[in-house]
């Protein structure tokens, strides 16, 4: 039974989880949200590494014109699976990893509402991801249709590889996994909050996950339906997207982007929430404008459902002013969040361990992605940039700047909670600097290449003036990113070889997960502090300090 107390748990009480060795059967059979979260994280990082290797091969291919490291068909497969894996097998499940681990802890619950369903979500995601990648094992090769899978390119006369069918089946499985996971998150947040935790006392990460989960519940059924239609068309002769039989290929684009644009926010909003957790801790201040931050999250979530067709400007089949306007408007609540983060830092006692470095790096890189997003939200400019490297650079600035920087911030921030150990700070900072330099060097030149008209999704390009130099620079940057990931893996291995010494709250943080041991016990809490604000652990620390001071004054 959870009890309420003002006294933080002692460091010495840190819990050693059951089966400290390799408890393989325990992991396979687990329904514990923390283990499931860690499995999500490891699997997502595995897919990230695989997709990263594909990116390196593509950048090597594009380093100079005329180089043919892979065939054109192979290149098509690489960019298809790279995009799919990064979006749906890495970024989305990484959101699920953080959410699984943190939501029950942040709301003061013992576990998810549906622990077995939670485990099923993970296994469906893992098997779905493996089915997508298994396209590399079939003779005809992996899917070659781009991660957007537009018909008619993805229908049988044009994509004959079995890999495309495996891509569809795999994504169906991961889609169902996402829907089941989102359902679990929403119900857990609504029904398992600790006494005293009203909606406006929830940590901003949990708020962000609530909105994200609702987005998943609306967006993923659209892509699931579209994938089933495509599968029926490829395997059973249906004609949903064939104009000569009364179908409409633009229908796929509507369904895909009704999922696809919310998907951008599905993988961004939770990490905005992560930023809402890190900036206050490393500024030693409460989050500036908590309610404005939450309302901005809700507005972004709601508006993200109304901007899908800005990806379809050049189809000529959509209303340009409507989607241009909604796309411009969505920048406003995003700007509100920037003010939240910046004003949280102003006047604070800033310190810059690795999580804070990643957080500040996120601000700059995501801002750049946001600004170039405003450019392509303008229909006349979008007509120029469509399908060029400008779009490639923009989407990486948004997705890597907005999600992956914040993901690294989250991993380095909560690593002590996950493992009971802090990452080696010099290694963690080297990871940050290598990644950031590599990221800028990789993608900045691509804006110029796009402005010059270099098209995306081609295995080669002409030796036009300036193109080769910028492509060489971009390729060097991508290998710098790869080196930074190696440094991160070394830091993790080094940390895991040390004894657990982080204690429950190494950063002096605010939300309930820092009340639990590091790593937390099986059912998370032996006690809970009273929840009278959005920062219950901070309140408990203050109360404990005052009680200590009062006790000292009472002494003769």
């Amino acid at each position: 039974m959870t009890t309420l107390t003002d006294t933080p748990p002692p460091v010495a009480a840190a819990h050693a989880p059951a089966g400290a060795g390799l408890d393989l059967l325990g992991w396979l059979a687990t329904t514990d949200h923390k283990r499931i979260g860690i499995m999500y994280g490891i699997a997502a990082l595995g897919f990230f590494l695989a997709a990263g290797v594909m990116a390196l091969v593509m950048r090597a291919e594009l380093a100079v014109p005329g180089l043919q490291l892979v065939t054109e068909q192979g290149y098509n497969g690489l960019f298809t699976i790279h995009g799919t894996a990064m979006m749906l097998l890495f970024a989305t499940p990484m959101v699920a990893a953080f959410a699984n681990y943190l939501i029950p802890l942040q709301v003061g619950a013992a576990d998810m509402v549906y622990p077995r369903l939670n485990a099923l979500s993970f296994w469906l995601f893992l098997f779905g991801g493996l089915v997508v990648l298994s396209g590399f094992l079939v003779a005809s090769g992996p899917a070659d249709i781009g991660w957007t899978g537009y018909p008619p390119n993805s229908t049988l006369p044009y994509s004959t590889t079995t890999g495309t069918d495996l891509w569809i089946v795999g994504l169906l499985l991961t889609g169902v996994a996402s829907i089941l996971g989102a359902l679990n998150f929403v119900v857990t947040i609504f029904t398992r909050r600790a006494p005293g935790m009203s909606m406006f006392r929830m940590p901003v990460f949990t708020w962000s996950m609530l909105v994200t989960s609702i987005l998943i519940l609306y967006a993923f059924p659209a892509i699931t339906a579209a994938l089933i239609m495509l599968l029926l068309e490829r395997r059973f002769g249906a004609e949903f997207f064939n104009p000569s039989a009364g179908g409409d290929p633009v229908l796929w684009q509507h369904l895909f982007w009704f999922f696809g644009h919310p998907e951008v926010y599905i993988i961004a909003l939770p990490f905005f929430g992560v930023m809402g957790e890190t900036f206050p801790v490393f500024s030693r201040k409460p989050l500036f404008g908590y309610r404005a931050f939450v309302l901005a999250t809700i507005f972004i979530g709601a508006y993200s459902m109304t901007v899908w067709a800005h990806h379809m400007f050049t189809t000529g089949a959509i209303n340009l002013p409507f989607f241009s306007a909604t796309s411009f408007i969505i920048a406003v609540p995003t700007g509100v969040k920037f003010f939240n983060w910046i004003f949280t830092m102003i006047g604070g006692k800033l310190w810059f361990p690795a999580p804070m470095l990643w957080s500040v790096g996120f601000l700059f890189t995501f801002l750049f992605g946001g600004i170039t997003g405003v450019l392509v939200a303008s229909a006349p400019l979008d007509f120029q940039f469509q399908d060029t490297y400008f779009v490639v650079a923009h989407l990486h600035n948004v997705l890597v700047g907005g999600s992956v920087f914040a993901m690294w911030a989250g991993i380095t921030f909560w690593f002590p909670k996950f493992t009971g150990r802090r990452l080696n700070e010099p290694l963690a900072q080297a990871h940050f600097w290598l990644w950031t330099i590599g990221f800028v060097v990789t993608f900045l030149p691509q804006y110029q290449l796009g402005a010059w008209g270099m098209p995306r999704r081609y295995a080669d390009y002409p030796a036009a003036p300036g193109w080769t130099e910028l492509n060489v620079v971009s390729t060097i940057g991508s290998f710098c990113i790869a080196a930074s990931v190696v440094v991160f893996l070394v830091a993790v291995v080094e940390a895991l070889r040390r004894p657990r010494d982080a204690g429950p709250d190494p950063w002096q943080a605010n939300s309930l997960e820092w009340w639990a041991d590091s790593p937390p016990a099986h059912h998370n809490f032996r006690s809970l502090p009273p929840i009278r604000s959005a920062r219950p652990v901070f309140d408990a620390r203050v109360a404990a300090r005052e009680a200590q001071r009062g006790g000292a004054e009472d002494r003769p």
Partner: protein
Amino acid sequence: MIRRLLLLDHPQETRFFLFVGAFGLALATVYWFLTYEVAGTVLLLGFGAGAGLLGVGLYRSRPGAVRAGADAARRDADASEAGRDGGDASAVDQVTAGGEDVPGGGAGGVDTPFSTPLGRLPGETLAPLALGLGMALGLTAVVFGPWLLVAGLVPLAWGAWTWLTAARDELRAAVRQEAPETAPDLAPDLVADTGER
């Protein structure tokens, strides 16, 4: 009156869904009259109607749930005044004071108006893994042929059976715990350990 119009006497959860639903329906209307485009209108209507219906459901469930929550918070308050840990006092204060954090009439059962009892947490089980494997094999049969469907049926059936029987046993055990005299007879081992490997 204004509080009622703005639904301030309803839980934040209810207002959240009603707002999102109203937003989606309004956008669907605007979109239709601007474009007369069917696919997008249907998608926006689905978005608005889904959230709206959920909001209406929460709106209708409000009186009983919030009253029950408020009653529970008052009982906690009485208990804490009788010498227990006073941690729930904030919730009770909010019930009675009508302060800022008292959506829908309260906190406590009021901060968390849709809170449900914890129930039993399952032990370790291979059922989700088996079910997931069965579903993956079964679906991949569309690509490689029906033999995969047959291979997938075995883990699927075992996983589903194990899952459902464990859930049934947990439910019976929970019922028995709450009302021992009315619960159906249960095998002692099912009550003692519902975690299945």
